[in-house]
Protein backbone atom coordinates (compact mmCIF):
# COMPACT_ATOMS: atom_id res chain seq x y z
CA UNK A 1 0.00 0.00 0.00
CA UNK A 2 1.18 3.51 -0.79
CA UNK A 3 1.02 6.53 1.43
CA UNK A 4 -2.63 7.47 1.85
CA UNK A 5 -4.11 10.29 3.78
CA UNK A 6 -7.65 11.02 4.83
CA UNK A 7 -9.56 12.37 7.79
CA UNK A 8 -12.77 11.01 9.21
CA UNK A 9 -14.84 13.65 10.96
CA UNK A 10 -16.38 12.98 14.34
CA UNK A 11 -20.01 11.90 14.13
CA UNK A 12 -20.11 11.07 10.43
CA UNK A 13 -20.46 7.87 8.45
CA UNK A 14 -17.39 7.57 6.28
CA UNK A 15 -17.18 5.03 3.47
CA UNK A 16 -14.06 3.57 1.94
CA UNK A 17 -14.76 2.02 -1.44
CA UNK A 18 -12.52 0.21 -3.83
CA UNK A 19 -11.99 -3.02 -5.71
CA UNK A 20 -10.45 -6.02 -4.02
CA UNK A 21 -6.78 -5.72 -3.34
CA UNK A 22 -7.11 -1.94 -3.27
CA UNK A 23 -6.00 -1.94 0.36
CA UNK A 24 -9.23 -1.29 2.26
CA UNK A 25 -8.86 -4.15 4.72
CA UNK A 26 -5.18 -3.35 5.21
CA UNK A 27 -6.13 0.24 6.01
CA UNK A 28 -8.57 -0.95 8.65
CA UNK A 29 -6.00 -3.34 10.07
CA UNK A 30 -3.48 -0.54 10.49
CA UNK A 31 -5.95 1.81 12.13
CA UNK A 32 -7.26 -0.90 14.48
CA UNK A 33 -3.61 -1.71 15.41
CA UNK A 34 -3.88 -5.27 14.06
CA UNK A 35 -1.08 -4.54 11.59
CA UNK A 36 1.84 -2.16 11.94
CA UNK A 37 2.33 0.56 9.33
CA UNK A 38 5.72 0.29 7.62
CA UNK A 39 5.99 4.06 7.56
CA UNK A 40 3.94 7.13 8.43
CA UNK A 41 1.62 7.66 11.31
CA UNK A 42 -2.03 7.15 12.15
CA UNK A 43 -3.89 8.99 14.88
CA UNK A 44 -7.22 8.00 16.35
CA UNK A 45 -8.76 10.94 18.22
CA UNK A 46 -5.25 12.24 18.63
CA UNK A 47 -3.72 8.99 19.91
CA UNK A 48 -0.85 7.41 17.96
CA UNK A 49 -1.73 3.81 16.97
CA UNK A 50 1.84 2.55 17.04
CA UNK A 51 2.69 4.04 20.42
CA UNK A 52 -0.48 3.35 22.39
CA UNK A 53 -2.24 0.44 20.64
CA UNK A 54 -4.26 -0.60 23.71
CA UNK A 55 -5.53 2.94 24.29
CA UNK A 56 -6.54 3.16 20.65
CA UNK A 57 -8.33 -0.21 20.72
CA UNK A 58 -10.26 0.96 23.78
CA UNK A 59 -11.91 3.62 21.61
CA UNK A 60 -12.66 1.38 18.66
CA UNK A 61 -15.22 -1.20 17.69
CA UNK A 62 -14.45 -3.58 14.86
CA UNK A 63 -16.80 -5.75 12.85
CA UNK A 64 -14.60 -7.80 10.53
CA UNK A 65 -15.61 -8.94 7.07
CA UNK A 66 -16.11 -12.58 8.00
CA UNK A 67 -18.82 -13.15 10.62
CA UNK A 68 -16.88 -13.43 13.83
CA UNK A 69 -19.35 -14.14 16.59
CA UNK A 70 -18.77 -17.26 18.66
CA UNK A 71 -21.31 -19.87 17.60
CA UNK A 72 -20.78 -21.99 20.72
CA UNK A 73 -21.92 -19.21 23.05
CA UNK A 74 -25.35 -17.61 23.38
CA UNK A 75 -26.04 -14.13 22.05
CA UNK A 76 -26.05 -12.77 25.58
CA UNK A 77 -22.73 -14.45 26.39
CA UNK A 78 -21.09 -13.10 23.25
CA UNK A 79 -21.99 -9.58 24.30
CA UNK A 80 -20.99 -10.23 27.91
CA UNK A 81 -17.53 -11.62 27.14
CA UNK A 82 -16.64 -8.81 24.77
CA UNK A 83 -18.03 -6.22 27.19
CA UNK A 84 -15.65 -7.61 29.80
CA UNK A 85 -12.73 -7.59 27.38
CA UNK A 86 -13.52 -3.91 26.71
CA UNK A 87 -13.62 -3.21 30.45
CA UNK A 88 -17.21 -1.97 30.39
CA UNK A 89 -18.23 -1.02 33.90
CA UNK A 90 -19.71 -3.94 35.84
CA UNK A 91 -22.81 -1.96 36.89
CA UNK A 92 -23.46 -0.77 33.34
CA UNK A 93 -22.86 -4.12 31.64
CA UNK A 94 -26.11 -5.95 32.27
CA UNK A 95 -28.29 -2.96 31.47
CA UNK A 96 -26.50 -2.16 28.23
CA UNK A 97 -26.54 -5.80 27.04
CA UNK A 98 -30.28 -6.19 27.49
CA UNK A 99 -30.83 -2.79 25.87
CA UNK A 100 -28.66 -3.77 22.90
CA UNK A 101 -30.42 -7.11 22.43
CA UNK A 102 -33.77 -5.33 22.59
CA UNK A 103 -32.70 -2.59 20.19
CA UNK A 104 -31.43 -5.04 17.57
CA UNK A 105 -34.46 -7.32 17.83
CA UNK A 106 -32.53 -10.18 19.40
CA UNK A 107 -34.00 -10.13 22.90
CA UNK A 108 -36.08 -13.27 22.42
CA UNK A 109 -33.13 -15.24 21.06
CA UNK A 110 -30.59 -13.91 23.56
CA UNK A 111 -30.25 -17.21 25.38
CA UNK A 112 -29.96 -19.34 22.24
CA UNK A 113 -26.62 -20.53 20.95
CA UNK A 114 -25.47 -18.23 18.17
CA UNK A 115 -24.79 -21.13 15.79
CA UNK A 116 -28.55 -21.46 15.44
CA UNK A 117 -28.90 -17.80 14.33
CA UNK A 118 -29.35 -16.70 10.70
CA UNK A 119 -26.55 -14.80 8.95
CA UNK A 120 -28.41 -11.52 9.35
CA UNK A 121 -28.92 -12.09 13.06
CA UNK A 122 -25.23 -12.84 13.54
CA UNK A 123 -24.35 -9.58 11.81
CA UNK A 124 -26.78 -7.65 13.96
CA UNK A 125 -25.35 -9.25 17.08
CA UNK A 126 -21.91 -8.05 16.03
CA UNK A 127 -23.16 -4.53 15.52
CA UNK A 128 -25.07 -4.73 18.82
CA UNK A 129 -21.70 -5.10 20.50
CA UNK A 130 -21.08 -1.46 19.64
CA UNK A 131 -24.08 -0.49 21.72
CA UNK A 132 -22.62 -2.29 24.73
CA UNK A 133 -19.02 -1.12 24.39
CA UNK A 134 -19.92 2.37 23.08
CA UNK A 135 -16.78 2.85 20.94
CA UNK A 136 -16.13 6.36 19.69
CA UNK A 137 -15.35 4.95 16.26
CA UNK A 138 -16.85 1.79 14.79
CA UNK A 139 -15.24 -0.05 11.87
CA UNK A 140 -17.41 -2.18 9.65
CA UNK A 141 -15.64 -4.18 6.95
CA UNK A 142 -18.18 -5.14 4.27
CA UNK A 143 -21.06 -5.30 6.76
CA UNK A 144 -23.78 -6.49 4.39
CA UNK A 145 -21.85 -8.94 2.26
CA UNK A 146 -23.49 -12.35 1.88
CA UNK A 147 -26.80 -11.21 3.38
CA UNK A 148 -30.22 -11.45 1.74
CA UNK A 149 -31.84 -8.12 0.70
CA UNK A 150 -34.10 -7.96 3.75
CA UNK A 151 -31.31 -8.59 6.27
CA UNK A 152 -29.15 -6.17 4.33
CA UNK A 153 -31.77 -3.45 4.66
CA UNK A 154 -32.10 -4.06 8.39
CA UNK A 155 -28.34 -3.93 8.89
CA UNK A 156 -28.06 -0.66 6.97
CA UNK A 157 -30.92 0.86 8.94
CA UNK A 158 -29.34 -0.15 12.22
CA UNK A 159 -25.96 1.24 11.28
CA UNK A 160 -27.68 4.54 10.48
CA UNK A 161 -29.60 4.50 13.76
CA UNK A 162 -26.42 3.81 15.69
CA UNK A 163 -24.85 6.84 14.09
CA UNK A 164 -27.85 9.11 14.51
CA UNK A 165 -29.06 8.10 17.97
CA UNK A 166 -25.77 7.40 19.70
CA UNK A 167 -23.42 9.69 17.79
CA UNK A 168 -21.06 6.83 16.95
CA UNK A 169 -18.60 7.76 14.24
CA UNK A 170 -18.70 5.00 11.65
CA UNK A 171 -16.11 3.86 9.15
CA UNK A 172 -17.43 1.41 6.61
CA UNK A 173 -15.94 -0.38 3.61
CA UNK A 174 -18.15 -1.76 0.88
CA UNK A 175 -18.42 -2.79 -2.75
CA UNK A 176 -22.08 -1.98 -2.89
CA UNK A 177 -22.49 1.50 -4.38
CA UNK A 178 -26.21 1.73 -3.59
CA UNK A 179 -25.38 0.97 0.01
CA UNK A 180 -22.56 3.51 0.07
CA UNK A 181 -24.83 6.16 -1.41
CA UNK A 182 -27.55 5.45 1.12
CA UNK A 183 -25.27 5.17 4.13
CA UNK A 184 -22.31 7.50 3.86
CA UNK A 185 -21.98 11.19 4.59
CA UNK A 186 -18.61 11.19 2.91
CA UNK A 187 -16.60 8.62 1.07
CA UNK A 188 -13.26 7.91 -0.50
CA UNK A 189 -12.49 5.60 -3.38
CA UNK A 190 -9.30 3.62 -3.16
CA UNK A 191 -7.50 2.05 -6.06
CA UNK A 192 -4.20 0.17 -6.04
CA UNK A 193 -3.22 1.36 -2.60
CA UNK A 194 -4.06 5.03 -3.21
CA UNK A 195 -7.01 7.30 -2.53
CA UNK A 196 -8.35 8.09 -6.00
CA UNK A 197 -10.95 10.65 -4.90
CA UNK A 198 -12.97 11.62 -1.84
CA UNK A 199 -16.01 13.75 -1.04
CA UNK A 200 -19.73 13.52 -0.35
CA UNK A 201 -21.77 11.22 -2.64
CA UNK A 202 -23.31 14.28 -4.34
CA UNK A 203 -19.94 15.90 -4.96
CA UNK A 204 -18.52 12.69 -6.36
CA UNK A 205 -21.46 12.16 -8.67
CA UNK A 206 -20.98 15.67 -10.03
CA UNK A 207 -17.48 14.73 -11.15
CA UNK A 208 -18.86 12.26 -13.67
CA UNK A 209 -21.33 14.80 -15.12
CA UNK A 210 -24.80 16.03 -14.17
CA UNK A 211 -28.29 14.73 -14.85
CA UNK A 212 -29.29 13.94 -18.41
CA UNK A 213 -32.88 14.51 -19.65
CA UNK A 214 -33.97 12.60 -22.74
CA UNK A 215 -37.06 14.30 -24.27
CA UNK A 216 -39.11 12.69 -27.05
CA UNK A 217 -41.09 15.24 -29.09
CA UNK A 218 -43.09 15.78 -32.25
CA UNK A 219 -42.65 19.06 -34.09
CA UNK A 220 -39.74 21.25 -35.01
CA UNK A 221 -37.12 21.55 -32.31
CA UNK A 222 -35.88 25.00 -31.31
CA UNK A 223 -32.33 25.93 -32.25
CA UNK A 224 -31.25 26.50 -28.69
CA UNK A 225 -32.55 26.46 -25.11
CA UNK A 226 -31.93 28.99 -22.34
CA UNK A 227 -28.75 28.44 -20.36
CA UNK A 228 -30.51 28.09 -17.00
CA UNK A 229 -32.34 24.99 -18.28
CA UNK A 230 -29.12 23.26 -19.20
CA UNK A 231 -27.19 22.55 -22.37
CA UNK A 232 -28.20 20.45 -25.36
CA UNK A 233 -26.04 17.39 -25.79
CA UNK A 234 -27.74 16.14 -28.93
CA UNK A 235 -30.87 16.86 -30.95
CA UNK A 236 -31.79 14.13 -33.37
CA UNK A 237 -35.09 13.08 -35.01
CA UNK A 238 -37.29 14.55 -32.31
CA UNK A 239 -35.14 13.28 -29.46
CA UNK A 240 -33.46 15.94 -27.39
CA UNK A 241 -30.76 15.21 -24.84
CA UNK A 242 -30.15 17.90 -22.23
CA UNK A 243 -27.42 17.99 -19.60
CA UNK A 244 -28.60 19.78 -16.49
CA UNK A 245 -27.73 20.39 -12.83
CA UNK A 246 -30.88 19.15 -11.16
CA UNK A 247 -32.87 16.90 -13.45
CA UNK A 248 -36.05 16.66 -11.42
CA UNK A 249 -36.54 20.44 -11.26
CA UNK A 250 -35.63 20.84 -14.93
CA UNK A 251 -38.35 18.45 -16.20
CA UNK A 252 -41.38 20.79 -15.85
CA UNK A 253 -39.40 23.82 -16.99
CA UNK A 254 -38.07 22.14 -20.12
CA UNK A 255 -41.55 20.77 -20.88
CA UNK A 256 -43.12 24.25 -20.49
CA UNK A 257 -40.42 25.84 -22.64
CA UNK A 258 -40.95 23.37 -25.49
CA UNK A 259 -44.78 23.39 -25.37
CA UNK A 260 -44.76 27.22 -25.46
CA UNK A 261 -42.92 26.94 -28.78
CA UNK A 262 -45.47 24.52 -30.22
CA UNK A 263 -43.44 21.35 -29.62
CA UNK A 264 -45.46 18.43 -28.23
CA UNK A 265 -43.59 16.57 -25.51
CA UNK A 266 -44.40 12.84 -25.59
CA UNK A 267 -42.12 11.55 -22.86
CA UNK A 268 -39.27 12.67 -20.65
CA UNK A 269 -36.79 10.35 -18.98
CA UNK A 270 -34.15 11.32 -16.48
CA UNK A 271 -30.89 9.51 -15.92
CA UNK A 272 -28.64 10.52 -13.08
CA UNK A 273 -25.09 9.42 -12.52
CA UNK A 274 -24.76 6.81 -9.79
CA UNK A 275 -21.85 5.99 -7.57
CA UNK A 276 -21.35 3.05 -9.92
CA UNK A 277 -20.35 5.56 -12.61
CA UNK A 278 -18.03 7.28 -10.14
CA UNK A 279 -16.55 3.96 -9.18
CA UNK A 280 -15.98 2.87 -12.77
CA UNK A 281 -14.24 6.13 -13.46
CA UNK A 282 -11.84 6.06 -10.51
CA UNK A 283 -11.30 2.39 -9.68
CA UNK A 284 -10.55 0.26 -12.65
CA UNK A 285 -8.72 -2.77 -11.27
CA UNK A 286 -11.20 -5.63 -11.66
CA UNK A 287 -14.08 -5.18 -9.23
CA UNK A 288 -16.26 -7.97 -10.57
CA UNK A 289 -14.12 -11.00 -10.00
CA UNK A 290 -13.12 -9.88 -6.55
CA UNK A 291 -16.56 -9.14 -5.24
CA UNK A 292 -17.80 -12.60 -6.17
CA UNK A 293 -14.92 -14.23 -4.43
CA UNK A 294 -15.48 -12.20 -1.32
CA UNK A 295 -19.21 -12.85 -1.22
CA UNK A 296 -18.48 -16.54 -1.46
CA UNK A 297 -16.07 -16.51 1.42
CA UNK A 298 -18.51 -14.55 3.58
CA UNK A 299 -21.22 -17.07 2.83
CA UNK A 300 -18.84 -19.85 3.75
CA UNK A 301 -18.09 -18.20 7.03
CA UNK A 302 -21.78 -17.92 7.82
CA UNK A 303 -22.36 -21.59 7.09
CA UNK A 304 -19.37 -22.51 9.20
CA UNK A 305 -20.90 -20.77 12.18
CA UNK A 306 -24.21 -22.48 11.63
CA UNK A 307 -22.60 -25.92 11.71
Amino acid sequence: MDAISFDVKEGEIFGLLGPNGAGKTTTIKVVTTLAKPTAGSVFVFGVDVTRFPERVRQMLGFVPQAISVDGDLTGYENLLIFAKLFFVDRDERKKRISEALEYFGLAERGDDLVKHYSGGMMRRLEIAQALVNRPKLLFLDEPSIGLDPYSRMQVIKQIKDLNRNFGTTIFVTTHDMMEADELCDRLAIMDRGKIAISGSPIELKKTVGGDVLTVSTTGALPDSIPKELGSVVSADQGTLKILTEDGEKAIPRVTDFLEERGVTVESVSLSRPTLDDVFMKYAKSGLQEGSFREARSARRSISRHGR
Binding site: T74, I81, L85, F86
Partner: protein, 258 residues
Amino acid sequence: MSYPRRLVGSALTIAEMEARKIRHDSTELWMRTVQPALWLLIFGEVFNNIRNLPIPGGFSYVQYIAPGVLAQSVLFVAIFYGITIVWERDVGLLTKLLSTPSPRLSLVVGKALAAGVRGIFQGVMIFALALIIGVNLRFDPLDVGGVFLVVVLFAMCFASLSMTLASFLKTRDRMMGIGQAITIPLFFGSNAIYPISLMPSWLQTVSAFNPLTYVVDAMRSMLLTGDYSGLPLDIAALLLSTAFFIASASVVLRRLIE
Protein backbone atom coordinates in the same frame (compact mmCIF):
# COMPACT_ATOMS: atom_id res chain seq x y z
CA MET B 1 -7.39 0.49 35.37
CA SER B 2 -3.85 -0.70 36.07
CA TYR B 3 -2.08 -3.13 33.74
CA PRO B 4 -1.96 -6.09 36.16
CA ARG B 5 -5.68 -5.73 36.88
CA ARG B 6 -6.53 -5.61 33.19
CA LEU B 7 -4.25 -8.58 32.55
CA VAL B 8 -5.78 -10.77 35.25
CA GLY B 9 -9.35 -9.64 34.50
CA SER B 10 -9.05 -10.36 30.78
CA ALA B 11 -7.29 -13.69 31.28
CA LEU B 12 -10.11 -14.79 33.59
CA THR B 13 -12.66 -13.62 31.00
CA ILE B 14 -11.00 -15.70 28.27
CA ALA B 15 -11.02 -18.70 30.61
CA GLU B 16 -14.67 -17.96 31.44
CA MET B 17 -15.45 -17.97 27.72
CA GLU B 18 -14.07 -21.51 27.49
CA ALA B 19 -15.85 -22.63 30.62
CA ARG B 20 -19.17 -21.38 29.25
CA LYS B 21 -18.63 -23.30 26.02
CA ILE B 22 -17.91 -26.46 27.96
CA ARG B 23 -21.09 -25.90 29.97
CA HIS B 24 -23.15 -25.73 26.77
CA ASP B 25 -21.58 -28.87 25.35
CA SER B 26 -19.36 -31.04 27.51
CA THR B 27 -19.35 -34.05 25.17
CA GLU B 28 -15.74 -33.48 24.18
CA LEU B 29 -14.64 -33.36 27.80
CA TRP B 30 -16.20 -36.73 28.56
CA MET B 31 -14.90 -38.30 25.35
CA ARG B 32 -11.44 -37.31 26.40
CA THR B 33 -11.69 -39.44 29.54
CA VAL B 34 -12.20 -42.59 27.47
CA GLN B 35 -8.60 -42.91 26.40
CA PRO B 36 -6.99 -42.68 29.86
CA ALA B 37 -9.68 -45.01 31.19
CA LEU B 38 -8.69 -47.60 28.56
CA TRP B 39 -5.02 -47.22 29.49
CA LEU B 40 -5.82 -47.96 33.13
CA LEU B 41 -8.52 -50.59 32.64
CA ILE B 42 -7.08 -52.59 29.76
CA PHE B 43 -3.41 -51.83 29.28
CA GLY B 44 -2.82 -51.48 33.02
CA GLU B 45 -4.75 -54.59 34.00
CA VAL B 46 -3.09 -56.78 31.36
CA PHE B 47 0.43 -55.62 32.13
CA ASN B 48 -0.30 -55.98 35.82
CA ASN B 49 0.03 -59.72 35.23
CA ILE B 50 3.64 -59.44 34.14
CA ARG B 51 5.38 -60.09 37.42
CA ASN B 52 8.99 -59.40 36.54
CA LEU B 53 8.71 -55.73 35.49
CA PRO B 54 11.41 -53.89 37.46
CA ILE B 55 9.09 -51.34 39.07
CA PRO B 56 10.85 -49.42 41.84
CA GLY B 57 9.27 -49.39 45.29
CA GLY B 58 7.27 -52.60 44.87
CA PHE B 59 4.17 -50.94 43.44
CA SER B 60 1.76 -52.72 41.13
CA TYR B 61 1.87 -51.84 37.44
CA VAL B 62 -1.53 -50.07 37.49
CA GLN B 63 -0.33 -47.99 40.42
CA TYR B 64 2.84 -47.24 38.54
CA ILE B 65 1.19 -46.00 35.35
CA ALA B 66 -1.71 -44.06 36.94
CA PRO B 67 0.35 -40.81 37.24
CA GLY B 68 1.75 -41.45 33.75
CA VAL B 69 -1.70 -41.84 32.25
CA LEU B 70 -2.83 -38.64 33.97
CA ALA B 71 0.15 -36.73 32.59
CA GLN B 72 -0.43 -38.16 29.11
CA SER B 73 -4.11 -37.20 29.06
CA VAL B 74 -3.29 -33.65 30.17
CA LEU B 75 -0.66 -33.47 27.43
CA PHE B 76 -3.24 -34.50 24.81
CA VAL B 77 -5.73 -31.89 26.08
CA ALA B 78 -3.12 -29.12 26.06
CA ILE B 79 -1.58 -29.80 22.66
CA PHE B 80 -5.08 -29.40 21.21
CA TYR B 81 -5.07 -25.65 21.96
CA GLY B 82 -2.97 -24.79 18.93
CA ILE B 83 -5.67 -26.30 16.72
CA THR B 84 -8.37 -24.37 18.59
CA ILE B 85 -6.60 -21.07 18.09
CA VAL B 86 -6.13 -21.72 14.36
CA TRP B 87 -9.83 -22.56 14.15
CA GLU B 88 -10.68 -19.32 15.94
CA ARG B 89 -8.48 -17.47 13.46
CA ASP B 90 -10.32 -19.16 10.57
CA VAL B 91 -13.74 -18.04 11.82
CA GLY B 92 -12.51 -14.51 12.51
CA LEU B 93 -12.83 -14.76 16.28
CA LEU B 94 -9.12 -14.27 16.88
CA THR B 95 -9.11 -11.00 14.93
CA LYS B 96 -11.96 -9.82 17.10
CA LEU B 97 -10.22 -10.90 20.32
CA LEU B 98 -7.05 -9.12 19.24
CA SER B 99 -8.98 -5.94 18.44
CA THR B 100 -10.12 -5.59 22.06
CA PRO B 101 -8.09 -3.38 24.40
CA SER B 102 -7.18 -6.45 26.46
CA PRO B 103 -3.45 -7.15 26.59
CA ARG B 104 -2.28 -9.86 24.15
CA LEU B 105 -0.62 -11.65 27.02
CA SER B 106 -3.99 -12.09 28.72
CA LEU B 107 -5.36 -13.94 25.71
CA VAL B 108 -2.59 -16.53 25.93
CA VAL B 109 -2.75 -16.79 29.72
CA GLY B 110 -6.54 -17.16 29.54
CA LYS B 111 -6.39 -19.95 26.98
CA ALA B 112 -3.64 -21.66 28.96
CA LEU B 113 -5.72 -21.40 32.14
CA ALA B 114 -8.64 -22.97 30.30
CA ALA B 115 -6.36 -25.85 29.32
CA GLY B 116 -5.50 -26.14 33.02
CA VAL B 117 -9.18 -26.37 33.95
CA ARG B 118 -9.68 -29.15 31.42
CA GLY B 119 -6.61 -30.84 32.88
CA ILE B 120 -8.12 -30.72 36.36
CA PHE B 121 -11.24 -32.39 35.00
CA GLN B 122 -9.06 -35.17 33.58
CA GLY B 123 -7.38 -35.49 36.97
CA VAL B 124 -10.68 -35.76 38.84
CA MET B 125 -11.94 -38.41 36.43
CA ILE B 126 -8.75 -40.47 36.63
CA PHE B 127 -8.70 -40.27 40.44
CA ALA B 128 -12.35 -41.34 40.51
CA LEU B 129 -11.60 -44.27 38.24
CA ALA B 130 -8.59 -45.23 40.36
CA LEU B 131 -10.81 -45.28 43.45
CA ILE B 132 -13.44 -47.38 41.69
CA ILE B 133 -11.06 -50.04 40.38
CA GLY B 134 -9.12 -50.02 43.64
CA VAL B 135 -5.80 -48.54 42.55
CA ASN B 136 -4.10 -47.58 45.75
CA LEU B 137 -2.77 -44.00 45.57
CA ARG B 138 -1.85 -41.60 48.38
CA PHE B 139 -4.99 -39.49 48.48
CA ASP B 140 -3.56 -37.02 50.97
CA PRO B 141 -5.22 -33.60 50.40
CA LEU B 142 -1.88 -31.82 50.12
CA ASP B 143 -0.56 -34.35 47.65
CA VAL B 144 -3.72 -34.20 45.54
CA GLY B 145 -3.54 -30.39 45.63
CA GLY B 146 0.10 -30.58 44.58
CA VAL B 147 -0.77 -32.90 41.71
CA PHE B 148 -3.46 -30.48 40.52
CA LEU B 149 -0.94 -27.64 40.65
CA VAL B 150 1.43 -29.66 38.48
CA VAL B 151 -1.46 -30.55 36.14
CA VAL B 152 -2.39 -26.87 35.69
CA LEU B 153 1.21 -25.78 35.10
CA PHE B 154 1.84 -28.63 32.69
CA ALA B 155 -1.36 -27.92 30.73
CA MET B 156 -0.51 -24.19 30.58
CA CYS B 157 3.00 -24.99 29.41
CA PHE B 158 1.99 -27.23 26.53
CA ALA B 159 -1.07 -25.17 25.54
CA SER B 160 1.24 -22.16 25.11
CA LEU B 161 3.81 -24.27 23.27
CA SER B 162 1.03 -25.41 20.98
CA MET B 163 -0.16 -21.83 20.40
CA THR B 164 3.42 -20.78 19.65
CA LEU B 165 3.70 -23.55 17.05
CA ALA B 166 0.32 -22.62 15.60
CA SER B 167 1.56 -19.07 15.02
CA PHE B 168 4.21 -20.46 12.69
CA LEU B 169 2.36 -23.38 11.10
CA LYS B 170 -0.92 -21.48 10.63
CA THR B 171 -3.19 -24.30 9.39
CA ARG B 172 -5.27 -26.87 11.21
CA ASP B 173 -3.96 -29.79 9.14
CA ARG B 174 -0.37 -29.01 9.97
CA MET B 175 -1.27 -28.60 13.65
CA MET B 176 -2.97 -32.02 13.69
CA GLY B 177 0.18 -33.50 12.21
CA ILE B 178 2.56 -31.77 14.59
CA GLY B 179 0.31 -32.65 17.54
CA GLN B 180 0.75 -36.34 16.79
CA ALA B 181 4.42 -35.89 16.06
CA ILE B 182 4.97 -34.27 19.45
CA THR B 183 2.75 -36.20 21.81
CA ILE B 184 3.54 -39.78 20.81
CA PRO B 185 7.36 -39.52 21.05
CA LEU B 186 7.07 -37.54 24.29
CA PHE B 187 4.82 -40.22 25.74
CA PHE B 188 6.87 -43.26 24.72
CA GLY B 189 10.14 -41.49 25.38
CA SER B 190 9.22 -40.84 29.01
CA ASN B 191 8.83 -42.79 32.23
CA ALA B 192 5.02 -42.65 31.92
CA ILE B 193 4.34 -46.36 31.28
CA TYR B 194 7.68 -48.05 31.92
CA PRO B 195 10.73 -47.34 34.06
CA ILE B 196 13.61 -45.56 32.37
CA SER B 197 15.89 -48.43 33.39
CA LEU B 198 14.18 -50.62 30.76
CA MET B 199 15.06 -48.24 27.90
CA PRO B 200 18.05 -48.60 25.58
CA SER B 201 20.72 -46.16 26.66
CA TRP B 202 20.16 -43.63 23.82
CA LEU B 203 16.48 -43.38 24.78
CA GLN B 204 17.46 -42.93 28.43
CA THR B 205 19.44 -39.87 27.38
CA VAL B 206 16.50 -38.53 25.39
CA SER B 207 14.09 -39.04 28.26
CA ALA B 208 16.32 -37.01 30.56
CA PHE B 209 15.46 -34.01 28.36
CA ASN B 210 11.80 -34.90 28.09
CA PRO B 211 9.60 -32.54 30.15
CA LEU B 212 6.98 -35.27 30.51
CA THR B 213 9.52 -37.34 32.49
CA TYR B 214 9.76 -34.58 35.10
CA VAL B 215 6.01 -34.10 35.27
CA VAL B 216 5.41 -37.82 35.75
CA ASP B 217 8.21 -37.93 38.28
CA ALA B 218 6.63 -35.10 40.28
CA MET B 219 3.21 -36.73 40.19
CA ARG B 220 4.60 -40.13 41.13
CA SER B 221 6.45 -38.70 44.12
CA MET B 222 3.20 -37.21 45.42
CA LEU B 223 0.82 -40.05 44.52
CA LEU B 224 3.02 -43.08 45.20
CA THR B 225 6.36 -42.73 46.93
CA GLY B 226 5.99 -39.67 49.15
CA ASP B 227 9.63 -38.92 48.40
CA TYR B 228 9.69 -35.18 47.64
CA SER B 229 13.43 -34.80 47.11
CA GLY B 230 13.13 -34.33 43.33
CA LEU B 231 10.04 -32.12 43.55
CA PRO B 232 11.66 -28.65 43.76
CA LEU B 233 13.66 -29.28 40.59
CA ASP B 234 10.62 -30.70 38.77
CA ILE B 235 8.42 -27.73 39.63
CA ALA B 236 11.13 -25.15 38.97
CA ALA B 237 11.73 -26.63 35.51
CA LEU B 238 8.00 -26.65 34.83
CA LEU B 239 7.49 -23.04 36.02
CA LEU B 240 10.36 -21.83 33.90
CA SER B 241 9.20 -23.50 30.70
CA THR B 242 5.59 -22.39 31.28
CA ALA B 243 6.68 -18.78 31.64
CA PHE B 244 8.86 -19.09 28.56
CA PHE B 245 6.16 -20.55 26.32
CA ILE B 246 3.46 -18.12 27.53
CA ALA B 247 5.78 -15.24 26.71
CA SER B 248 6.73 -16.66 23.32
CA ALA B 249 3.10 -17.37 22.36
CA SER B 250 1.97 -13.84 23.24
CA VAL B 251 4.77 -12.34 21.17
CA VAL B 252 4.21 -14.43 18.03
CA LEU B 253 0.44 -14.86 18.18
CA ARG B 254 -0.21 -11.88 15.91
CA ARG B 255 1.51 -13.77 13.07
CA LEU B 256 -1.69 -15.80 12.80
CA ILE B 257 -3.73 -12.83 11.58
CA GLU B 258 -1.09 -11.26 9.37
